[in-house]
């Protein structure tokens, strides 16, 4: 099975406190730690496991700047066979449609049975997979937390729905799936693994290589664009306990007692 996984380099929100810069034009990027988007990492692990079971290959692709190469390399260290970077200044400022347009151009150059994305990335939009599928006229499923290959034409999938329940469907290939966290346990990537793929060539393709009209992507074509970032004015907000850590412990115990928080 030929599998393509779309990945994005994002600030790691578990590692960083995100704050807005003074003009509101962006978040403070100075000290941010970047990594591969959490959901995408599960998607790559799933692709590798499928390939190891039924054969084929796993390609990871990212639309981004030169720094995104590091993320592609990390996913290749996990076990992806190939990496492709789609990078061009005209892609900047793309909305979900723009990113999907770029990915579609690359996908149409190959022949993939299965295209995976993460459920969502740092902007919480959850849009690229669904838009891409519709543009490619392929069937789509979101929030996928189980994949079972039936044969080279069909798979069985589980989708996460409310209350921890799972919706099972059968799907024809080729298709696009957006992967939910928890579908597997992504393998650890050590420094040695990264070193092994350090010199593997990762082709970089721009708009003209992909046959993309620059007017159809990027800021020019974006129908959704961010004006600014801000931190919403707090409503009531929590009462923050003050004092030394011992004093906070004392105060909290009093509160817990009065609210029935200690039985």
């Amino acid at each position: 099975m030929e599998i393509l996984v779309c990945v994005k380099r994002v600030p790691d929100t578990a590692e960083n406190e995100i704050s807005v810069n003074s003009s509101g034009s962006d978040i403070e990027r100075g000290d941010l730690v970047y990594s591969v988007n959490e959901w995408d990492n599960y998607a790559v692990e799933e692709a590798i496991q499928i390939r190891d079971k039924v054969g084929g290959s796993v390609t990871v692709v990212s639309v981004g700047d030169a720094d995104s190469e590091e993320v592609l390399r990390r996913e290749m260290a996990m076990g992806a066979d190939k990496g492709i970077l789609l990078s061009d200044s005209v892609f900047e400022g793309s909305d979900g449609n723009g990113i999907a347009t770029v990915l579609k151009a690359e996908i149409e150059k190959g022949k993939y049975d299965l295209i995976l994305t993460g459920t969502q990335a740092d902007d919480g939009a959850g849009q690229v997979g669904g838009i891409l599928a519709a543009m490619l006229d392929m069937p789509y499923a979101s929030l996928v937390n189980r994949i079972e290959v039936i044969d080279d034409k069909k798979i069985k999938i589980g989708r996460e729905i409310a209350g921890g329940n799972q919706e099972i469907s059968e799907m024809d290939l080729p298709c696009v799936l957006s992967i939910q966290t928890g579908i597997n346990e992504p393998r650890y990537v050590g420094i040695r693994g990264i070193r092994k793929v350090a010199s593997v060539d990762i082709p970089v393709r721009g708009a003209s290589d992909l046959g993309i009209n620059p007017g159809s992507v990027g800021k020019a074509a974006a129908k959704v664009s961010r004006v600014d970032y801000f931190v919403p004015a707090l409503g009531k907000g929590a009462e923050l306990l003050e004092g030394s850590i011992e004093e906070k412990v004392e105060k909290l115990i009093e509160l817990l007692k009065s609210k029935g928080g200690i039985k």
Partner: protein
């Protein structure tokens, strides 16, 4: 011509989802001059449709036995046939909306705006809206060109539900139009629902929940949470990453894709406060948050906040409580 807004109604076992009334409010904020139509898809939906006529002037019904389970691949195809180009469709940003909406925007040649939490007016076909990014740590104003139509998902709970009014609406049967081309979406076939496993404790019944998130850092550290839960006589629950890592069972996960809990006291330890997590906490418990990041969104909703490293604070708290016993 005035903007036409459609609201896709989620319903289950004959009951309409809370977001049906929230979308009335959202549509009013989006454009008070717009016409508003509810769309109900399913089988045997008469009761659902009739219950909406007090809030919606018009209710479109697409009803067929083949639609008894909402398969978004099927429904997307039907909606693309009946929704006029240039209009705006609203739907809740949850598992069905996320499945249906992005692709539908492509089929309708419209703009996709995901997970809106507020609207700030329209100017020259451009809608100003508010979204959240980075797990809710910051918000963003976005401008969205809706002049050629749009599909917009709405965060549940973000728009205060409109009072049930007396719209005196009419139900219009659109089934024939929607099914004119047959049943689409055959490439994805619904098989069954596998219901969640029940765990050893039912956290939906707990009065005190000691809930742990990714801030716990290591699996071994879960022990300090168990000890605190024991000291206060509560149960251990958690956020999703803890379940994804297989450190606790799925039945202990609080949130939209886990359990809905309604304790008296909820302690959020190393939990950032994503909307999917908070969506599983009902009944306004007394909420205490311990987080080392003073800007964590959880502090916006908690009653009491403690800005500390939980690995240090929690064992101290447990020890002190045990001493007092």
């Amino acid at each position: 011509m005035a903007l036409q807004i459609f609201a896709y109604i989620l319903h289950k076992d004959g009951a309409v989802d809370d977001t049906a009334l929230e979308m009335v409010a959202a549509a009013g904020k989006l454009d008070p001059a717009a016409s508003l139509t509810a769309i109900v898809v399913g089988s045997k939906t008469d009761a659902v449709c009739n219950s909406l006529t007090s809030s919606y002037k018009e209710v479109w019904k697409i009803d067929n036995d083949a639609l008894s389970y909402p398969n978004s691949e099927v429904i997307r195809g039907l909606l693309a046939l009946v929704i006029p180009k240039g209009s705006v469709l609203l739907i809740a940003h949850e598992h069905f909306g996320m499945d249906l909406a992005p692709g539908l925007s492509v089929k309708l040649d419209g703009t996709y705006l995901p997970d809106a939490v507020a609207f700030d007016g329209i100017e020259g076909g451009k809608l100003k809206a508010v979204r959240q990014e980075f797990g809710g740590q910051v918000s963003a104003h976005v401008v969205c060109d809706i002049s050629g139509g749009a599909v917009i998902t709405i965060r549940a709970g973000a728009f205060r539900a409109a009072e049930a009014a007396n719209a005196g609406g009419a139900v219009v049967d659109k089934t024939a139009d929607a099914l004119a081309g047959g049943l689409p979406g055959g490439a994805r076939r619904f098989v069954e629902i596998v219901t969640a496993e029940v765990g050893d404790v039912d956290i939906t019944k707990s009065e005190i929940l000691v809930s742990v998130g990714r801030g716990i850092c290591e699996q071994e550290n879960i022990e300090i949470i168990r000890e605190l839960a024991k000291a206060v006589g509560g149960d251990v629950s958690c956020s999703r990453p803890i379940v994804d890592a297989k450190w606790l069972e799925k039945s202990r996960q609080v949130g939209t894709s886990g359990q809905t809990v309604k304790p008296k006291v909820y302690m959020a330890l190393g939990i950032s406060g994503s909307f999917q997590h908070l969506g599983g906490i009902k009944g306004s418990p007394f909420m205490i948050a311990v987080n080392k990041n003073p800007k964590a969104p959880i502090f916006q909703v908690a009653d009491i906040g403690v800005v500390e490293d939980l690995l240090e604070f929690v064992p101290m708290l447990t020890e002190k409580i045990n001493e007092l016993k």
